[in-house]
Symmetry: C2
Subunit: 320 residues, 2 copies
Amino acid sequence: MKAPRVPDGLGGPLSEPLFQRLALIGMGLIGSSLARVCRRKGLAHEIIATDSSSAVRARAIELALADRVMETAAAAVEAADLVILCAPVGVMGAIAREIGPRLKPGAIVSDVGSVKASIIKAVAPHLPSMVHFVPSHPVAGTEQSGPEAGFSTLFFNRWTILTPPEGTSPKAVARLASFWTGAGAYVEIMQPAHHDLVLAITSHVPHLIAYNIVGTAADLEEVTRSEVIKFSAGGFRDFTRIAASDPTMWRDIFLNNKEAVLEMLGRFNEDLSALQRMIRNGDAEGLFDLFTRTRAIRRGIIEQGQETAAPDFGRRAGET
Amino acid sequence: MKAPRVPDGLGGPLSEPLFQRLALIGMGLIGSSLARVCRRKGLAHEIIATDSSSAVRARAIELALADRVMETAAAAVEAADLVILCAPVGVMGAIAREIGPRLKPGAIVSDVGSVKASIIKAVAPHLPSMVHFVPSHPVAGTEQSGPEAGFSTLFFNRWTILTPPEGTSPKAVARLASFWTGAGAYVEIMQPAHHDLVLAITSHVPHLIAYNIVGTAADLEEVTRSEVIKFSAGGFRDFTRIAASDPTMWRDIFLNNKEAVLEMLGRFNEDLSALQRMIRNGDAEGLFDLFTRTRAIRRGIIEQGQETAAPDFGRRAGET
């Protein structure tokens, strides 16, 4: 079901490309969206793509996502002045080992992984000293995966966080920031460890508890799966969206941001115990107080353009 | 921001009304949506409305939601053959006490509360024996409240659960089922206690953990509120929608479905502890397995028309 195209604010191509040759390693949701926006905005003169899956490479060719699609990451990075790793967190180190010796001196290497400290640890040792490693994380996505799922406005009005390790060339950071700005994103610079803590609460723990409650509901015996599905409009279905995200990507995120996730999950559990006690004790005032406080954050998210104000996410927009 | 009106499947008026006079006690999201759909589908010859708030009554008059808007529930139910209580769970008993002596013999009394056993306990004793009490729960809603928030297709393609107490007239149950079918809903009959268990997992616990994580995020010191807002597109914002629901309504639900909620929350907590252990132990296979299993339920929900298949809830429909 394809909705009619609506105008967006991303606009047309820059007067000249920011990079000569961009190599995208991985053509999933993020990699293929980057390919699309780079083409549309003319961010790179030439786009080279690859993916570890031959089926995905074939789709990338059919969809004309890049100027050339190579069979290996090592071949794809040849002469590239910007290389972006768009692969699950768990394979970033292996890709870095493969491409390290083939990187052009002076090239900028980046990635789009959802954790940063562990990626830096896995990737940096494999990169030669004359390339600039500027890790990035575009905080954008949908529950869908693969080269068909991407679209050029995925990053528009969303934040991309750069976490350059100490000593990174400020010029390289600024060039990469311009690239993300060109893709429609806002850019913020952060320490890797702080990034991992912020994302643990804004993304990783939400996914974890969404996966968890969907799992709980699926395993019940007193309530059938058919009942869960029928009556999901009571709130449950909101959780199923992010619990339908790519399993490999999310497995890697939890394995690679263990400490921050467990820390934030600990806070969540403490608060949930308190809330459980309020229900057990019939603490009407405590419940009302929490349920009132939580509205303010959504208002902030809507006001800052990170969410739609339409009721029910606009699922049934236009009904009267 | 009003999206363009799209055609819907609710259709036009019935050839003749199912009820002569419908009294709606409460003009919030549900009551005002009922008023709209009853008008549009001609489900009742005459619609009488009331609300405990004079401001809401005034809005109901401005919006022409009913034929007449009365100042009290007692006045509103006069000569009505269908009375529906559309008020927070905690005040249902008091309304029943007020209207009991004024109900027309043979009238059907229903409600739209999200818990059923405790409402039956609170309401039934106040109703005279010659009226039929058929509790109902339309599993539909948005995070918005008040008479402006309602719309005629709120119940369309959603399930309404009827929980008639033992001994209820089957004819009264069938008449009320026709009413909900006329409003576009599917109807299911259930034991009150089973309803409360099903809704605990499909609605009440999801709301509870959404309120909880939004509260956790709001209270952090290492991560600022501004960071939570900026980077909420990573998943957190999905939770803020249901955590923006009406605080009075939700306080009452948790106070009145304590046992089922604590039971389901216990299951959720057990599963979350197991998941926490998987992360701590780096159990890649266990994580992957859960994250794969949870996709099936969403597929079921989409296939059965209870959810949109558009990525990201269709928040940015039409982008390419």
